[in-house]
Symmetry: C2
Subunit: 151 residues, 2 copies
DNA sequence: TTGTAATTATTGCACTTGCAACCAGACAGT
DNA sequence: ACTGTCTGGTTGCAAGTGCAATAATTACAA
């Protein structure tokens, strides 16, 4: 039974606040540039980095931290605008791939120019190299603990 | 025009991932304990800490980082279950207060026992005191920069 | 004072989300 | 092959979200 002092509680609140404000700001930057919302980028970049630029929907769900239902819907939206297309899976005929299209690749690049600038300006600019090490270590420890627990 | 190297990009992704996983976990803990969702706690604690346990809806929106529309709806839900009640504002007859009820106070306390344990276990446990100082400084700088910009 | 602008809260609408139910295909044991 | 179970993806439904429009009140300036 861990204890929680008031400084730790404040830091947790600060963490939530910073996340909310940063994400809000990034979303506004996308919108202002006439670009699609946040989550679209995640799917595009995940596909871009995958072999053959394609991934099973269930794998996408895991990577994007979104449940299957919403991956289906997100894929619907990107497919409707031509940024990805679906492809049946040979090895498992239940399954579907999402495949990055040329238009999808171009959209990813366009979004990245906006996104990179936002991340740098709102987030990275305020971190020294030492900070980055501290953050990485602490965040990794949190994730590792969550993963162990669920085993 | 700030530059963004790949380590910084990874850290940003890590930041988003950690936030998503932690919030997901906290929400599950609430649900498993048969308690209302996350956002309800924020409103309850905000009211508890306010003078006379009441706040204008617009002030709540600012504190909770939620737009006015959704504060109205969130207040609807808490009012329907008796955790808050609305009160007309004397000084500005357009306005409404949200007032914490006795049931609301008790709910806040019940949720806190679960919440405090979750924060400690998933978040604070992985931070040394030095980490806490680093986090606080960096996060505060990010917020300050956002606030300055909008002036 | 009077008219215009700004502010507070709410509502209608379109869209997104999560849960549970569902279907088709895979898989394992008999 | 036959049966029951599991898995991948989709869909219906109920609920939550953001945007734009609205009504009521206040603030202010000519």
């Amino acid at each position: 039974m861990a204890e929680l002092d008031s400084a730790q509680n404040s830091l947790w609140k600060l963490f939530l606040t910073v996340h909310a404000r940063l994400v809000e700001q990034v979303e506004q930057d996308f919108k202002q540039a006439g670009l699609p919302p946040f989550e679209w980028y995640d799917m595009l970049i995940a596909l871009k980095q995958a072999p053959d630029q394609k991934l099973r929907l269930s794998d996408l769900a895991e990577v994007l931290l979104v449940n299957r239902t919403n991956v289906t819907r997100l894929a619907d939206r990107l497919e409707k605008t031509g940024l990805i297309r679906r492809e049946v899976c040979q090895f498992d005929r239940r399954g579907a791939y999402a495949v990055l299209t040329q238009a999808g690749l171009e959209m990813q690049q366009k979004m990245w120019t906006v996104y990179a600038e936002s991340i740098a300006q709102y987030f990275s600019r305020h971190l020294t190299q030492k900070d980055e090490i501290t953050f990485t270590r602490a965040f990794s420890a949190m994730l590792a603990a969550l993963d162990e627990e669920s085993v």
